[in-house]
Symmetry: C2
Subunit: 212 residues, 2 copies
């Protein structure tokens, strides 16, 4: 398992680093989608581990099984693959309050085609595949939460595929800049370029055109 | 609601067209993902309506709310939008045992950017948004079913986005031909070309190259 040495149960983490733990994001996120009592929520959170991930550290590597579902408590993750030319191609980012995994690998517990890497120093809540199954057995209300999380992701990917077909590269950049200005400011430009499917030089050209 | 004139509850449809109803697909599909008793399954199926849709009939139009979640019992649906040049761009197909909706419009019950159309004469089981909510309240086990349906769709879209970045148009066609030969045979070529992002002429060129 990646980052095993840094992985602690939330209970243990609470004891050793009481000030650092911020489960409020996940608590609020679950509450946004489904009604669960505070006491149950506290129990649910004990199923998660917390990992601190350094900038550019991989928590999933190609050829390995994606054993966990990752909730970004603080920081940013990206999902990428390495193409035939040896170039990293980012296909998804996850900022705070987003879940990320390679869901093919996670669902079937088979080897992944992807990498997951921290874009910046991050604090991630992880839910291992088998632990998630136990959690869902013990708290079936959480099925609704994850159903809505995946339904939103499904909706987002329909929109994403539409933009890949409908927009030119420049229009794609302008759309992202308009809809997610903080995201565009925060993500390193070479990663943003890779995500949008063009070179850093082309991105720089568009940016300069907008400024001049 | 689209196709209102053709919409019947399953119970009524059973009475009027006993031979035509095939709920076995959905029954088996639900059983594949979650364990529900036969009696409960029979009750669950009463929440669905069945519609018969003609070839090229739209069951969702741009600007309208996607009020239902659609399960393809027989036939094929496609999700498309009309681009700035007035050309239809297909982004998703649903064959038997697939669910389809514009999940942004469906989730928020707001106007859709998409159309959903039958590629061939189809028999569709529909679950209206508010009926689905009642179903999920009465049968919370169905949250697991829909969670797994959306999780698979989420996984499929990660793979799809990877192929859009990683493969040339010709490679994309070859991949589809290899992985889904029946699908490639069954779908009209101009729609397959649109889905893969190229012209029917280009598709014809690739096909001829393979044959010669």
């Amino acid at each position: 398992m990646p980052c095993n040495t840094n992985a602690l149960t939330l209970a243990a983490f609470f004891q050793s680093n009481p000030a650092k733990v911020m489960t409020e994001n996940l608590r609020a996120h679950i509450n946004k989608f489904t009604k669960i009592s505070e006491q149950q929520l506290s129990e649910i959170l004990t199923y998660f581990k917390v990992i601190e991930v350094s900038k550019k550290e991989n928590i999933l590597n190609e050829g390995k099984i994606c054993r966990s579902n990752y909730f970004v408590n603080k920081g940013c993750l990206r999902l990428f693959f390495i193409n035939e030319k040896g170039v990293e191609q980012t296909i998804q980012f996850a900022l705070e309050n987003w879940w990320l995994a390679d869901y093919t690998s996670f669902s079937s517990q088979t080897a992944s085609d992807f990498y997951i890497q921290a874009v910046e120093k991050s604090q991630i809540l992880t839910l291992d595949f088998d632990v998630q199954e136990v959690l869902l057995q013990n708290f079936p209300q959480m099925e609704r939460y994850f159903r809505l999380v995946h339904q939103r992701a499904h909706a987002a990917s329909q929109f994403r595929i539409k933009t890949l077909y409908a927009l030119s590269r420049e229009e794609l950049y302008n759309l992202f800049n308009k809809r997610y200005p903080e995201f565009v400011q925060r993500i390193p430009q070479y990663l943003l370029a890779s995500f949008l499917g063009f070179t850093p030089e082309y991105l720089s050209e568009i940016r300069n055109k907008k400024i001049s």
